[in-house]
Amino acid sequence: MPLYAALIYTKDVDWTLPEFGQETKEYNEFGQGAAAIIRGGNALYPTTTATTVRVEGGKGGDVVTSDGPYAETKEALTGFYLLDCADLDEAVSVAARIPAAWDGAVEVRPVIEF
């Protein structure tokens, strides 16, 4: 069955803080409920921990890093799942159960399987 990435966009938060206990519990509940479909995924530390990497002057050139995410947006990529679904309808209905769907947004993208 095709794989879909469900990219989670929420406020740029640190999920490890105790104040997000309720949220993490909801994610765990989703994870248990959708265990048969989830093929992978993780929560991410906030974008303050992000490093954007570029190599200047082509392959093998100078590694240049910058502090922060690739794109500064109001809502940030704070996690993702890999979902194994029959089609886009199923992927959308599963994505709609991810807490971010009502607390931010979930972007569903089909995965290329070479």
Binding site: D87, L88, V92, P110
Partner: protein
């Protein structure tokens, strides 16, 4: 309709059915479209000369099949990934015409795929016209006033999304049907409105789009004869379109409802639509359908012998029903205009002024202008006409407002 037109219409209708089946069988919209298009072109070349085959659909399906096999062989020779090649053995079902109900199911699948909510409305409209309506990309581009390369790109992207994100080729399950159907209806109605009141450009009515939308509406009513939404939509479009001849004068300027020559309304279309509204109302369960209600309002106008003899009580009641279904500023504006007709311009203006959120909507300013005009408040009317014009309308509508503006003392 001439014999040639009737033949072209037959080929186009059958072509859509063949396409719908081929998409299911091949699993590829692109391949199916290529093959069905090839068959349609051949039919248009040979049928007028050799006569219509005994079973037109079987002929088209067979011709399309040959083309599909050719395309697949060519791709296979080029070493392309051949997911579909295996499906094309001689035993593959779907190459002889399926029973009518299977074809109807295929068409429904195509309807719900073209109007899938994960596609942008723009993409849905383009697909509905191109794939479901059978128009060429150039025709779709012309109808929507978009450059052809832009339209080609839009269609390609939409089809890529269907293929790559795997939008399923199926009719939604019962519990999803009402929401999905309302999505289909709004796509078709958008096409109709685009043609009926071109928002920009010189033509008040782009006839081809209204014709296409009504054609799609008839197809939906044929496929889902018991769905109030579908019946209401078709009736609403027929009723609005019945006034087409009376809506513009010889110079292409708009004539508003009160001043239209009702003898020029299309009585046959009205009679058909009234019958459909009746069917829609009978099938409407406890909760009325918004399209049926709008069609009922249009029917009140269509049945009135003159503007002065319009049954405003009935129209206002229908607007009250409509507000109970979807309360919105535009519905309130239309209701206020009906109140103005029944209770006078002052009563109407009070309601119009109470509506917020329509400052960018030219018709709100135009309605205010008209009511102020009738109340003799010429200064305020002048400002309101100018505001309406500045919000941007089609050229003929702007012309009408300028004329009304010039009539102020």
């Amino acid at each position: 309709m001439s014999a040639g037109d009737a033949l072209a219409a037959l080929i186009r209708d059958e072509g859509t059915r063949v396409l719908a089946t081929l998409i299911r069988v091949t699993g590829s919209i692109d391949l199916a479209e290529d093959a069905a298009q090839d068959a349609v072109v051949r039919a248009l070349e040979t049928w007028p000369r050799d006569g219509v085959p005994e079973n037109p659909r079987a002929w088209l399906l067979l011709t399309a099949r040959r083309r599909a096999i050719d395309v697949i062989r060519r791709e296979a020779q080029r070493g392309g990934k051949e997911r579909a090649a295996l499906m094309f053995s001689e035993q593959t079902p779907g190459w002889t015409p399926d029973p009518e109900e299977v074809v109807a199911d295929d068409l429904l699948r195509l309807v719900f795929t073209c109007c899938h909510p994960t596609l942008s409305l723009e993409a849905q409209v383009a697909l509905a016209l191109r794939t479901l309506g059978g128009l060429s990309t150039a025709e779709v581009a012309r109808g929507l006033l978009v450059p052809e390369p832009t339209m080609a790109k839009r269609l390609t992207r939409a089809k890529q999304k269907i293929a790559q994100a795997r939008i399923p080729y199926r009719v939604p399950p019962a519990e999803e049907l009402p929401a999905r159907l309302s999505g289909v209806a709004s796509t078709v109605y958008l096409i109709f409105n685009e043609g009926y009141a071109a928002t920009a450009g010189a033509n008040l009515t782009r006839v081809a789009l209204t014709v296409e939308a009504i054609r799609l509406g008839r197809l939906l009513a044929e496929l889902m004869p018991d769905e109030p939404t579908v019946l209401g939509l078709l009736a609403l479009m027929l009723l609005q379109d019945s006034r087409r001849e009376a809506r513009v004068d010889a110079d292409g300027h708009p004539i508003l409802l009160p001043d239209q020559d009702r003898a020029r309304w299309d009585r046959a279309a009205i009679a058909e639509a009234i019958d459909i509204v009746g069917r829609g109302l009978r099938r409407t369960p406890d909760r009325p359908d918004a399209y049926v209600v709008q069609a009922s309002i249009a029917a009140c106008h269509a049945l009135a012998p003159s503007y002065a003899d319009t049954n405003w009580d009935a129209i206002i009641s229908w607007y009250d029903v409509l507000l109970s279904l979807n309360d919105g500023p535009v519905v309130r504006l239309n209701r206020a205009a009906a109140i103005a007709e029944r209770d006078g311009p002052a009563a109407g203006l009070t309601l119009v002024d109470a509506i917020t959120g329509l400052d960018g909507y030219p018709w709100w300013h135009a309605t205010r202008a008209e009511l102020l005009h009738r109340l003799g408040e010429h200064g305020a009317a002048r400002i309101a006409y100018q505001q309406a014009i500045s919000r941007g309308m089609s050229d003929p509508q702007t012309h009408h407002l300028r004329r009304r503006l010039a009539e102020l003392p």
